[in-house]
């Protein structure tokens, strides 16, 4: 069933259009930086963006920082929200279930296909940003990179940590994927499920900016998203990264469980 879901994901024009759109903003940023040569001052703006004018190979990380807060989760919400509700809308859910495909297998396959989408999207952003960084932006040091903490990282360390950062970003989307999947079992409208998920994201972001919400902040889904920057400190500061992964796994367990609880006995009337 996972294979079938992957075929569906990959044959859908929407998947590729979404990935293309995800790359649009980093590309625009790269072009603007290359033309104007005006980077943000260090410590302001998206992470790593101030450094890319000197070292273009850092641009994949900057691009991730650009898409992570909004574009990537919105894309995940759209793809995840479509999981079950989209099958309802194309009148195909009932035909899958009477094949029969067990409801549990279907949910698992849907979740896997959303995660595969995240991996594809993140990889695409990284590759496109790397090429842009190389072509348009600074081509300074091949010897090593200055870490966020000020010391120098070797090229090998850099590659390793960049890999970790990408894994972290993929994991950071698990919560969004699980929530979108849950909403997708609640409603017959794929758009409704996506908007509901985006609503949760916005709420999480708003609460993060509110002092009165200090007590619940550690549990907010978006709290640790940008913690991937900590991977580039010397030595790596694991605290927030680990908390971030644990938070995502918590969301995954709760909402994937809720999706199953709701879908297992749901009357499929459409």
């Amino acid at each position: 069933m996972i294979r079938v879901e992957l075929v569906k994901l990959l044959t859908r024009p929407r998947t590729w259009i979404t990935i293309l759109a995800l790359n649009a903003l980093p590309t625009l940023v790269a072009v603007l930086l290359a033309v104007t040569d005006l980077g943000p001052r260090p410590g302001t703006g998206p992470p790593f963006l101030s450094a890319v004018l000197t070292d273009g190979t850092l641009f994949p990380l900057a691009a991730l920082g650009i898409v992570l807060p909004l574009f990537l989760p919105v894309a995940v919400a759209v793809v995840g929200g479509d999981a079950i509700a989209g099958e309802v809308q194309s009148d195909t859910l009932r035909y899958l279930l009477v094949r029969p495909v067990s409801r549990l297998r279907l949910l698992v396959a849907k979740l896997v296909s959303v995660v595969v989408f995240v991996v594809l999207a993140v990889l695409a952003v990284a590759v496109v940003a790397y090429v842009e960084g190389r072509l348009l932006l600074g081509d300074a040091p091949a010897t090593g990179v200055v870490s966020v903490s000020g010391s120098t990282l070797t090229q090998a360390e850099m590659t390793q940590r960049t890999g970790l950062a990408f894994v972290y970003v993929v994991l950071a989307m698990l919560g969004v994927a699980a929530i979108a999947l849950f909403f997708s079992t609640l409603t017959d409208s794929a758009v409704g499920a996506a908007l509901g998920t985006i609503g949760v994201l916005v709420a999480s972001t708003v609460l993060l900016g509110l002092d009165a919400a200090d007590a619940i902040k550690p549990y907010l889904m978006t709290r640790h998203w940008l913690a991937f920057v900590d991977l580039f400190r010397d030595p790596i500061r694991w605290g927030d990264v680990v908390d971030g992964v644990l938070t995502q796994l918590g969301y995954l367990v709760v909402f994937a469980g809720a999706a199953w609880a709701n879908f297992a006995t749901k009357d499929v009337n459409r």
Binding site: M1, R3, V4, V7, K8, T11, R12, P13, S90, D91, T92, L93, R94, Y95, L96, L97, V98, R99, P100, V101, S102, T265, D267, V268, N269
Partner: protein, 300 residues
């Protein structure tokens, strides 16, 4: 009694909010039947079909397909059932062939080797092979309906559960669908056919169940229902002679015809002709399915 492929016992569905969609229905569909499941829109047909297939969970009562309890035995039973439920469904951006291939590959155990052949066969069977590579979004409703039937036939199932299968087809398409289903039935496929179209059921079914506001008000073999009523309709230009001859047997008379109580239409015909009454038309009266359904619904 032959084997029951579908049996329900006191099948009931009460939706949230207290609407009783299906009310203690006891279906009996035997192997080999073309079972016509009749009911007006909103009578609970589709809810019943969905419960049979495990899509909707019954509030009360039991369902057996092939003698196994549904929905518990779904994994072993449903591969033997081909279904078309309330309109076809397909991914619009994929071709008809790609849709069938995708559906066929949800079944991990089937060998991939003859998938292409299986898909090709059902496409040809429903007459969709000229359009198999066009995306489904360009299909007409009738073509989608054919595609839906093709997906129901993919596994060559011994039982077909079809909800309004001729919906959206033109007269030619309806005729082809009917011939296809009847030929499948002759080859041994049991067909459970739900429809609100009396004529369709009357033309195809061997057995009829009538659902009225959620209750099964009638379930009987069509041949039994339409057995001669013991009345014969006679049309003749010599009305007054005939009336005189058949005094006491005439139940009803109309413009140029009589309705006569007679156990044997042939004997009646011989009797009339022997006495120089010219007969233009003569035949045993049968009740139409429409009359039967209306009577059953009224008495319920």
């Amino acid at each position: 009694m032959s084997e029951l492929l579908i049996a329900t016992h006191g099948l009931t569905k009460v939706y949230r909010g207290g609407v009783t969609a299906v009310d203690h229905v006891d279906l009996e569909v035997r192997a080999g039947d073309v079972y016509g499941f009749l009911g007006a829109n909103g009578s609970g047909k589709t809810t019943t079909v969905r419960m049979l297939l495990g899509l909707v969970l019954a509030t009360e009562g039991g369902i057996e397909l092939f003698g196994e309890a549904m929905p518990k035995a779904g994994a072993s039973v449903l591969p033997r059932v081909g279904a078309l439920v309330e309109g076809p469904g397909a991914y619009p951006h994929l071709s008809g062939r790609a849709n069938l291939t995708l559906l066929d590959s949800t079944d991990g155990r089937r060998r991939r080797g003859d998938r292409r052949r299986r898909v090709g066969e059902v496409l040809e069977q429903v007459g969709l092979d000229p359009a198999d590579r066009r995306p489904v979004r360009t299909y007409s409703l009738g073509m989608r309906q054919r595609l839906g039937l093709a997906s129901a036939l993919l596994r060559r199932p011994p039982l077909l559960v079809l909800d309004e299968p001729t919906n959206g087809l033109d007269p030619q398409g309806i005729r082809e669908m009917r011939e296809l289903l009847l030929s499948l039935n002759r080859a041994g496929t049991t067909i459970f056919l739900s429809s609100h179209l009396l004529a369709e059921i009357e033309q195809m079914s061997s057995r009829v169940g009538v659902l009225d506001r959620g209750r099964l008000v009638l379930q009987e073999d069509l041949a039994t229902l339409q057995a001669p009523t013991g009345l014969v309709r006679v049309r003749t230009p010599d009305l007054s002679t005939a009336l005189r001859l058949l005094d006491g047997q005439v139940v009803d008379r109309g413009e140029g015809h009589l309705v006569v109580r007679s156990p044997d239409a042939a004997a009646l015909n011989a009797h009339l002709v022997a006495r120089d009454v010219r007969v233009t038309e003569l035949g045993p009266e049968r009740r139409s399915l429409e009359e039967i359904v209306l009577a059953a619904s009224e008495s319920a």
